[in-house]
């Protein structure tokens, strides 16, 4: 401001204009950069999406067909009928939803115990995370043998238990951060007003830490939906998941099934995308709060 004092109005206007032009140029470059980035990241997905709607003749057309003139859902129908896609889609939906609920139900009381009563001492929360550091490939043979003995292979229950156990450490670690940050006085006030410990947890704490729980839910759902290794080894015809189906198309040559392969990828991505979209406002808030306070 001081620099403007003593300058003529014309010079000041020129400076303001120059500043405006500078901002405009910066904005243009920013948006251009964003557009290029979007094309780079979303381009392949857009291509897959349009391929899933194309007729067989358009796959090899030159110049390439970017937008099909006669879009059709035939490949989706083929995927659902011929390739048992509906069965696998519903399997993924069921297993992911159940794992999500189970992860929430188990991790909340665990995190609460750690946050409020220092359960397991100061290192327990960190120790839980160590479990996440064990690669799945190291566990797969013993888990398979154990599951085979217990009759848990090719069952929803087996997969839900496994995914819940695998995702709990991260969920607990995240929720502990939220709960430690949550003022104990509010809980105590609720209990003075007649709430039990469980009542105050459910009625007072949960609504306030909902963003954190949304993050846990989203993480569990997407991780389960995308999981491949346990799914391919522990499932059978009845319980195979969508990610395994996608890989059956994309590993080892697709031949003439480009359309169905693309449709399987679109359907493989869509639910996780939908859940992320629904929970995004909680997600940003949750990660910003919980992630910095662990």
């Amino acid at each position: 401001m001081s620099t403007l004092v003593g300058t003529t109005p014309a010079v000041a206007v020129r400076r303001v204009n120059r500043h405006r032009v500078g901002r405009l140029v910066a904005d243009v470059f920013t948006y251009l950069g964003l557009a290029v980035t979007l094309v780079f990241f979303l381009g392949p997905f857009a291509w897959i999406l349009t391929t899933s709607l194309k007729g067989n003749n358009d796959f090899f057309a030159f110049p390439p067909v970017w937008i099909p003139s006669d879009p059709s859902l035939a490949h989706y129908v083929g995927l659902f009928t011929r390739a048992s896609g509906l069965r696998y889609f519903l399997n993924s939906l069921t297993i992911s939803s159940m794992s999500m609920v189970a992860a929430l139900l188990v991790s909340l009381p665990t995190a609460y115990a750690i946050a409020r009563w220092r359960f397991g001492g100061s290192v327990f929360g960190t120790f839980l995370l160590v479990l996440r550091m064990l690669p799945a490939i190291a566990l797969i043979i013993p888990v398979y043998l154990m599951y085979k003995t217990l009759g848990l292979t090719n069952s929803y229950l087996g997969l839900v238990i496994l995914y819940t156990v695998v995702y709990i450490p991260f969920a607990v670690w995240l929720l502990v951060g939220f709960l430690r940050d949550f003022p104990v006085e509010i809980e105590e006030a609720a209990m003075i007003d007649g709430c039990s410990r469980l009542g105050s947890l459910v009625r007072v704490v949960v609504p306030i830490i909902a963003p954190g729980m949304a993050v846990v839910a989203l993480f569990s759902f997407i991780a389960t939906w995308n999981e491949f290794l346990f799914a391919v080894v522990l499932t059978g015809i009845e319980t195979k998941t969508m990610m395994v189906l996608v890989t059956t198309y994309t590993s080892g040559g697709t031949d003439m099934f480009y359309g169905e392969a693309s449709a399987s990828v679109v359907l493989g991505v869509l639910p996780a995308f939908a859940v992320a979209f629904m929970l995004q406002r909680y997600l940003v808030k949750g990660l910003a709060l919980g992630g910095t306070k662990g």
């Binding site: 067989n56 003749n57 796959f59 090899f60 030159f62 011929r82 390739a83 043979i141 398979y144 043998l145 085979k148 090719n154 391919v232 080894v233 059978g236 015809i237 195979k240 395994v244 189906l245 890989t247 059956t248 198309y249 590993s251 080892g252 040559g253 697709t254 031949d255 003439m256 099934f257 169905e260 392969a261």
Partner: protein, 487 residues
């Protein structure tokens, strides 16, 4: 009274005799003997599942059997299925597998011969290409499987590239011999260099010299592509003491030639699996490709191919040794079907195996352009229906029939999949110029030694001894001197 008693006894006797001599009533025509039975099958790709769908209706109409087919992704197929089998059970009745993995799978399969007699099955073995019959279908001397996919490599070329007078003249000026579809690796390499980077089809497009699949995934594309050169230069997998021979002179020559000619292949060839170069061939972007015989069905499919009627078919190139060309097309490794010995439905599964192997049923599978199943029965090669399927089909089928007696199989010993993956990885390392060819092959040989030691050297040596004798019987032996004299 006595007469009445006599009459009654006689009537009973007549009834008993009549019942004894009367034939048992046969099932009514059109009855489905296994109605209500569902057989669980496992395969390694969606297109294989699709191929089974081509015979499912007839199977149900004839036998009343339905198929429930599980698909396990290719890269996970061997570990997952062996994990199930080695735990002493299997959720599947009918198994698709790669015959090169027979030593690992064979003990889990039900031998076919006893059931052949019991159920009067006819697998028509005389109609099966010899190499399959001798090397791929048996375990410990017992027949345990039937072919499902021929899986042999052959040569394809775009006639436009070879017949344009301008191309012929340019080629002769540069290489001092006539332009013709390659019979030797030298001719292949010259042609790929010659055609690369310009419009050999008469357009201004910058086209490529040749196609290949060099990705090291699955049991190893780059290894399959290297194998034909290696064996035609006199190579062999191991010596009689299980010492790897994959880093000897034939191996090195084969790999160095592949590395040297890398610039003439399309960018991305190191990531190509089976279908990418086939697509480039049928779109007219490459003049040359050796690949699976199923490529021919795409070549002849007018819905996608621009070279229908303009394609040539022949043997994978070889090496000229003392005036004779040695061709060694790869069988890679084929697909076969077997019955799990843990199945609770062995009888109907045997009937299914017989049914899908019948000449007319298997022909439907190998003829369909949407499957990548290759012909394997002699009647497939000679089928009138197949020979009329697209322009050039007779030449295509003749070339396949000529290729079969020359094929070189995978190392069919325990751990075959592991050996091949390690070798393929190292070959691609050399092709990507991350390692010199010799270093890559030495590294692969060390890895092979480790696998052999881990699995038990004596056990592996015994298994290899049998296979080496079988390979010798079809004319495949180690000739270290060929690498130097091959033209």
């Amino acid at each position: 009274m006595r007469q009445l008693r006599f009459l009654a006894v006689m009537l009973v006797l007549i009834a008993v005799v009549a019942a004894g001599v009367m034939p048992v009533q046969a099932p009514a025509q059109g009855a489905k003997p296994y109605e209500g039975t569902t057989i669980r099958a496992v395969v390694n790709a969606e297109y294989v599942k699709y191929s089974l769908s081509l015979v499912e209706k007839d199977l149900y109409d004839k036998l009343g059997i339905k198929l429930d087919v599980e698909v396990i992704p290719l890269d996970a197929f061997v570990p997952k299925t062996l994990l199930e089998f080695n735990s002493g059970s299997s959720p599947w009745d009918l198994i698709m597998f790669g015959p090169s993995n027979m030593p690992d799978y064979g003990r889990h399969f039900e031998p076919l011969e006893a059931w052949t007699q019991k159920l009067k099955l006819d697998f028509q073995l005389d109609d099966i290409a010899d190499v399959y019959k001798k090397l791929m279908l048996r375990h410990n001397g017992k027949l345990v499987s039937m072919p499902y996919d021929g899986d042999v490599h052959m040569l394809f070329w775009n006639k436009v590239a070879y017949e344009r007078p301008d191309n012929k003249k340019k080629f002769k000026d540069k290489y001092k011999y006539d332009l013709q579809p390659p019979k030797t690796w030298k001719q292949w390499d010259d042609a790929s260099e010659f055609f690369h980077g310009w419009g050999w089809d008469g357009t201004d497009n910058k086209l490529f010299g040749a196609g290949a699949s060099y990705k090291p995934s699955g049991s190893g594309y780059s290894y399959h592509w290297w194998r034909s050169r290696f064996f035609s230069y006199g190579g062999q997998y191991f010596d009689a003491d299980m010492k790897p021979l994959i880093n000897t002179a034939p191996a090195l020559r084969a790999l160095e030639e592949m590395v040297r000619t890398m610039p003439y292949y399309p960018p991305g060839v190191l990531l190509f699996e089976s279908e990418e170069p086939k697509t480039m061939l049928v779109k007219g972007e490459i003049p040359l490709l050796y690949s699976w015989t199923s490529t021919g069905k795409r070549v002849g499919d007018a819905r996608e191919s621009v070279i229908v009627g303009k394609a040539g078919f022949g043997l994978v190139p070889g090496a000229e040794i003392d005036g004779k060309i040695i061709h060694r097309p790869a069988i890679t490794p084929g697909r076969a079907m077997a019955v799990s010995k843990y199945s609770k439905k062995i009888e109907p599964t045997m009937k299914v195996l017989e049914f899908i192997s019948l000449p007319d049923q298997s022909l439907k599978i190998v003829m369909d352009p949407k499957t990548i199943m290759d012909p394997w029965r002699v009647t497939h090669f000679r089928s009138e229906k197949f020979r009329k399927a697209f322009p050039g089909a007779p030449e295509y089928l003749d070339a396949i029939e000529k290729s079969f007696p020359l094929v070189v199989p995978d190392p069919v010993i325990p751990g075959a999949d592991e050996y091949q993956r390690k070798l393929s990885f190292e070959i691609t390392e050399a092709l990507a110029k991350r390692k010199p060819a010799k270093e890559a092959l030495d590294s692969a040989a060390r890895e092979w030694d480790k696998i052999t030691d881990r699995r038990g050297r004596d056990k592996q040596k015994a298994a290899w001894g049998e296979k080496m004798a079988e390979m010798k019987a079809i004319g495949i032996e180690y000739h270290p001197d060929w690498a130097a004299k091959a033209k």
